[in-house]
Symmetry: C3
Subunit: 390 residues, 3 copies
């Protein structure tokens, strides 16, 4: 992975890389000198991007800088304030209720100063320069499913891809949300526009409670069709969110906007904003599981396998080839004999290797799993009965 | 308004302007010299375009020239005979039943002689020569919703348009049905084909009992889409008639025929042929109301407002623009916070200002009222974030 | 009809014409010299393409060469083995159960030797070289609905076509299934690709129990649309099979494969593989009926009539023509008067003679039977109100 630093003040289209926020310590101390809220215990206690403060305030004033969730008394909310300078603390409702009237010292030892935006990039070149984009965000401290899961999964995927042959080129990017994708686009948009055939925002992929996707802006790109197909044949039921706000919410906002228009959908298990622990201290390691990751990795693996054999494929024969002499057809027919699902699948794959449908459209049309069609394509290719059409 | 006279005998494609019918007096007189049916009381009493007659007839023969509606004993029907010469009287079933056997004098003092067809035309030029057509018919004496309402509404619309700025050019025509649109086409078809982007036949628009439309021949022109969208967001429920006969029945028959093919739908409240009082003396001023007209005028106003800002629009930025620095985005995000419908609408308008969808398609896609998108387009235009694409 | 002989060993794309099978006699004789199974009684008793044998075998071994249907104790199944050399007998389950342990003499006096494949061809040239293909198979000895019905119906159709005027050229082919269509394609593919506008595989068309079709590979060709339309307006309910295996199963497998891609659907009454007697001795003359044939012939007749007047048609007038002066429009209109289905049909045909829709699309759009539109097109053509668009 290559790590890039982009200085504060750098322009990215309509945006500017902001000052970097450094936080060293933060607490609320009561009149007895006890730290009732302490950043050292949990970094969610400070509102992200808080400006420095060191004052004594009465409880009434303090309340205006506190954030908690009445309905979830044990959860510390995750709150940020990127573009307006303010300060604040987050704490559980239970902690907040226990605060007694009186004076408190609030101290946030932070710096907002020119620094840099950091992102990571892994390019895995294939024989073709046609690219697949996977992106994930790295800007949510301490979130489990909503933060940790994406980079962990893409790291595993990068290792897996590095070990296998692939025709396509894979571009994996690890970026702070929104500004990260804009900065990345400002450096690579021409290449990405010219080469990207599919892609996924990989976000919230570590739990094992749901399977879902968010559409690209167009809703019918290859990424959408493949994601939908795999979810349907994987999970039985597709939970599909549109590109309409606020269903969309991560870097697809930039990958897909009209003047960029990359074919990028999003893959999730329990999607951001759609599970109760989202953006609280309860979205921790206990939410995500080995099972969850294994399922998500298998999904991305299938995504890649189908793309690598996407076609469109075209039959080489005129009319139906003679499968019998290749051992692909039963020798004897009789009354109402069953022909077997395997033969039906083979015959239907063949009939729709028409140079028009890619493997996803083919599989959808014949009602089979694209993954189950792969070995048949392989076999037909070996027999010289199909070839790539484009 | 310019009023045009077109002489009888003038050809209009396959048709010829007919002789003009003048009616001065008409009555049925019984043996006692009493006028039992009198044109002076109600001009519906004479079959439209009746040839002159002055004879004595027995009731049996008279019956063959009478028209009434058994199911509506108090209604006088509206009957015409344009292309076959005959004479007749219309009366209520109650009147008809009271006629006693015996001799009657029937007199119709009418003339069928060369004269002219009269139509009115208002052209309101805009900065662009792209045109919107509104047409209404003026040939149904004494009908309320089915006749008076259209010209009244278009007159109000002409006044309204004359007072406001508009980019588009508006063509309002007041014509006798069928032959009027053919005559009008014979004079303006090239211009109309080249310039008309949308249009409506405005017919039966004065009552307050229903909202409905009739499709253009293609059924999916801009006029259809916009009319459908406005009815849906106005009235909640769209009553939509197809172009199939006899659903179609007014001048769209000519505006939309294959060799003309203008994108013209029809707007109605209670549509001709679809309300009980239609083509009877009961379709009088009591059927139409200020509320009805106000609703219809508001509808046409919205129709015009959307056309004037139709786009398609295109975002000027690469990726999402920074709304925060323009005061268009909330400064602080937290746990499951609602973002407000206003922000959702703005974000979705932006995402689909893609240079492909016009405002109607955009609004339909994002599930908003086009009218509610107008101030957002205005604001985005002012911020330089969108521009016209075509 | 021209009959063609194609020698064994002739290549047809990926296939080769096989040796010809001649069968002279076959029987199973028990120890008492009685022929318990005898080809002379029913030619289904021998597995098609059986190699010669003349041996004595015990019942246990014999059983491995016997075919029967436990669920249909009186039916002799129809079994073939084209591409693997073997021998076998077919018999009813009842016969099979009556076989006693012991020795049997099995004799099949057959030859597999170079010979020829035979097919028939009728070309009926029209004024245009645009072609319609009808194909049927001739390779199923003794089957009634599944074999005899197709050639019988196409023979009747050929006679009918020879007696009437037609613009289109008709190509009727009578071929052994699969290899026959490949051989035929190998000789005519360029012509067929260039000229075929529609076609049907005619198979299983003699019984009177069902109406059905099998889609072409594309599923929306003219043949599909017309077949679907006629079935819907003929039989009320369309039983429509897709091109997915094993729904497809006859020569459409070759006519429609990607590199051939002719617009050919299939027409059936009770379709092969979908009725209980299929591929047994019960599919005999008792299954098919004069009523069945008459219905099927009427269907093909309608298929041809619509193709001959397919259009697309285009109105010659600008706007609506004046139907009144041609006696096509009622002279007098009044309150809520009905206009009659005939006028509605005429008006709707006229409105959609737009140079875009062929007659099938037109009829589907206006909700009428294409057959009922034919006399109207005829009348409009005579009046000069429509013309062919392409």
């Amino acid at each position: 992975m290559t790590v890039h630093e982009v200085p504060s003040g750098t322009r990215a289209f309509d945006w500017t890389v902001p000052d970097e926020w450094t936080i060293r310590d933060a607490f609320i101390e009561d009149q007895d000198g006890r730290r009732v809220v302490d950043f050292a215990h949990c970094n969610l206690h400070v509102v992200g991007y808080s400006e420095p403060v060191d004052r004594c305030v009465y409880l009434d004033e303090l309340q205006q800088h506190l954030h908690s969730i009445p309905d979830m008394p044990d959860a510390i909310p995750y709150v940020t304030s990127y573009y307006v300078r303010r300060w604040g603390f987050c704490l559980s409702q239970r902690q907040r209720d226990s605060l007694k009237p009186g004076r408190y010292r609030v101290r946030i030892d932070s710096t907002l100063a020119p620094g840099s935006l950091t992102y990571g990039e892994v390019i895995l070149p294939g024989r073709s320069d046609r690219e697949v984009l996977f992106s994930t965000y790295i800007c949510h401290p301490s979130m489990g499913n909503d933060q940790l899961s994406g980079p962990v999964l893409l790291t595993a995927l990068a290792r897996y891809l590095a070990q296998r042959n692939h025709d396509l080129t894979y571009r994996l990017v690890f970026i702070p949300e929104t500004i990260g994708s804009l900065v990345y686009l400002s450096r690579h948009i021409e290449t990405m526009r010219a080469r990207t055939i599919a892609g996924l925002v990989v976000a919230c992929v570590g739990d094992d409670r749901a399977w879902s996707m968010t559409q690209s802006r167009r809703g019918d790109t290859l990424s959408d069709r493949l994601c939908r197909h795999l979810l349907k044949t994987h999970a039985g039921e597709v939970v599909e969110y549109t590109y309409l706000w606020p269903d969309r919410g991560s870097d697809e906002r930039n990958w897909c906007m009209p003047n960029v228009d990359l074919p990028v959908a999003s893959f999730h298990r329990s999607k951001y904003g759609r599970y109760p622990e989202y953006h609280t201290s309860l979205d921790d390691l206990s939410l995500i599981s080995a099972n969850g990751f294994a399922g998500s990795l298998a999904f991305l693996n299938d995504f890649i396998l189908v793309l690598e054999s996407l076609g469109p494929w075209r039959t080489t024969s005129i009319g139906e080839p003679q499968l019998g002499k290749r051992g692909l057809y039963p020798a004897q027919f009789g009354h109402m004999c069953g022909y077997g699902d395997e033969l039906a699948r083979l015959m239907n794959v063949l009939a729709y290797c028409d140079g028009e449908r890619d493997l996803v459209a083919l599989a959808d049309h014949i009602g089979e799993r694209a993954i189950d069609c792969l070995p048949l394509i392989e076999r037909l290719l070996k027999e010289g009965l199909v070839e790539r059409a484009g």
